[in-house]
């Protein structure tokens, strides 16, 4: 008998979700939009930099170097400009960077090579550079990243003897998607599971239906779990969508164990659901539930989880605070599994912490969610 009531409940809850286009849009649309936004638009990668060249003599060496830069996908050649026009070029936004060649570029190149030193190409360092890069640094991140990249390009292929060789492990092209995908997963599941469940439970309080539900033989635990099931299933769909998008659209390698990522994600989903349940026991109005979810979860998740700002850079107090944020552990674990391709044993600590948090939250929430109105 009880069982019949329980599944009727699950069915009813699913109907609520299916009938409300806004819920469906939030649950299924936001993950895709956010992932694509963070993956493409909000990247810190250097892409599509426009460059112009100012060279008094367009010698063979200059042309070769310009071609080498233009051949790279990150840079687009905008044409040659007069050295007097550099400032105007940048101000008008025609170029993000102007590569300026010294008027005796050819001679200095020749000197450099004949001197037999390690220096060649553009990397002549004798106090008077042969090449100058003039950047529009109104976006410092882009300028810094672009400058570094351009510098490496100019020096490339000249086998310098004592140059520092950089080797970027796990994310050799410094793609920001690698960094953001785990972060977005940490954010989205909190958003969908916690906010949606808390709002849907509180909605019943607000509309008065909770009163009728409580006066039924179905126990509060049943009511709560019946509410969680449809949202849990939806979140699993989201998980699949995110992983597929990350792999095939954003090109995140997903090199480690997919099973491990799924396992820890499902644990995290349950934790987020428990959090939503907990919020619903505090809030009496849908608006309150929303505000609590946003203030208590979204902001800390964005600020303190390491999704955007590395935890290691935070002051000690904030680092300690971030330990209490589930998303921190989740994001850390997913980065290890997904990007670094570590085995599941590497995230046992994170898994344990998340598990303990889930158990504690469920216990507190169920304790608080009683079958009375007080």
């Amino acid at each position: 008998m009880k069982r019949v009531g329980f599944w009727a409940f699950v069915r009813k809850e699913s109907l609520h979700i299916l009938r409300d286009p806004r819920t469906m849009l939030i649950v299924l649309g936001i993950p895709v939009v956010q992932l694509l936004l963070f993956g493409f638009a909000l990247s810190t990668e250097v892409n599509n930099l426009d460059f112009s060249v100012a060279a008094p003599h367009r010698s063979e060496a200059v042309r070769q170097l310009v071609e080498r830069i233009a051949a790279n996908d990150c840079f687009t050649f905008r044409g040659y400009v007069d050295p007097q026009q550099i400032d105007r070029e940048l101000r008008r936004g025609r170029a993000d960077v102007v590569v300026v060649f010294a008027d005796d570029f050819d001679r200095r190149m020749a000197d450099g090579i004949s001197a037999g030193g390690g220096e060649a190409g553009g990397c002549v360092d004798d106090g008077r550079a042969a090449v100058q890069l003039v950047f529009d640094a109104s976006n410092p991140n882009m300028a810094a990243a672009g400058a570094g990249y351009l510098q490496r390009l100019l020096c490339a292929g000249n086998a310098p003897g004592a140059e520092v060789e950089m080797h970027l492990l796990y994310n050799p092209r410094m793609k920001s998607a690698y960094n953001f995908v785990p972060g977005i997963m940490g954010l989205l599941f909190i958003l969908i599971c916690s906010i949606m469940t808390s709002v849907s439970i509180v909605r019943e309080k607000e509309s008065g239906t909770m009163e009728v539900l409580l006066v039924s033989p179905v126990r509060p635990v049943g009511i709560v779990f019946a509410k969680m099931i449809p949202y849990f299933l939806l979140s699993c769909v989201d998980l699949a969508v995110i992983l597929l998008l990350a792999r095939y659209v954003l090109g995140v390698p997903l090199s480690g164990s997919v099973a491990g990522v799924v396992a820890i994600s499902i644990l995290y989903l349950l934790l987020a659901l428990a959090l939503g349940l907990f919020i619903s026991t505090i809030a009496d109005r849908q608006a309150t539930a929303l505000v609590i979810s946003a203030m208590l979860m979204l902001l800390p998740v964005i600020m303190l989880s390491g999704m955007i700002f590395p935890v290691e850079n935070m002051p000690g107090v904030l680092q300690a605070l971030s330990c209490a944020i589930p998303a921190r552990w989740y994001i850390e674990a997913v980065r290890k599994l997904m990007i670094q391709a570590l085995p599941f044993s590497a995230v046992v600590r994170e898994f344990g912490i998340l598990l303990a948090m889930t158990v504690a939250l469920v216990a507190v929430a169920l304790h608080k969610f009683n079958d009375k109105l007080e």
Partner: protein, 305 residues
Amino acid sequence: MVGDVAIRVEGLVKRYGAVTALDGVGFEVRRGELFGLIGPDGAGKTTLFRLLATLLTPDAGRAEVDGCDIVREARAIRSRVGYMPGRFSLYADLSVEENLAFFAALFGVSVRDNYGLIEPIYRQLEPFRTRRAGKLSGGMKQKLALCCALIHRPSVLLLDEPTTGVDPVSRSEFWEMLARLRSEGISILVATPYMDEAQRCDRVALCDRGRLLAVETPDGVVASFDGVLYALSGREMFGLLAAARAEAGVEACYPFGAVHHLRVAREFDPERFRRRLLAEGFHEVGIRRVEPGIEDVFIKRMEHE
């Protein structure tokens, strides 16, 4: 022993912080009785319903529903009562039949099981079976809510202001249904702010500010009125109210529908009062003797509290 008492309430007290919502209420509802709770907003009716539905815990006193204590045997009560809260409490985004099926399943029965009980009501809803509950008219919503509260064939029905905000025709139909349910042996406790509905109850309790003023049959309540009552009408109703209140023989004067009711002393002379009102410039003044209703009794009792 369950006996022939459906609801027994003894000295029930409920406080919300400093506010005392129920202040020692006691009464009994007999099995198969249609019992009305009459009182203004804030009288404590909803609190009483929530206590009986085991949604709240009393601060003092005790109550039994269908022989079960509301504190110790809450769970047993829950499968025996049909509770309809004051606000529309169905799912607006589910259709009529989905709502009914859900509440049936919630109580572990199927709609078929007790269809006979709700059939007279549900027949009227049948044409709108697939319509969303939120799109029903007020009267239809309440009929659906009643069906949902009845689907598990409860022995006690708790209806908190089921007809508030419903048109007079639907209200009347609703009460006919309650009468039919009573004949099926279901005990009904119903709250209403409408005095005219009180006449349809077997017995009524007048309540105000957490206390019961009287528990009586509707006729008994009316018979307990020991005053003389006149209805005053005219073109300048507002002015008449003030004039009547200033008159020496008038004990009380209050608006009552389209007229004012005047409770007066024995020696009051209505004809002289009417002539003086006309002389003072009031138009079309009429005054006639009327029989008291429950509302008149209620207003009188409230003054005496």
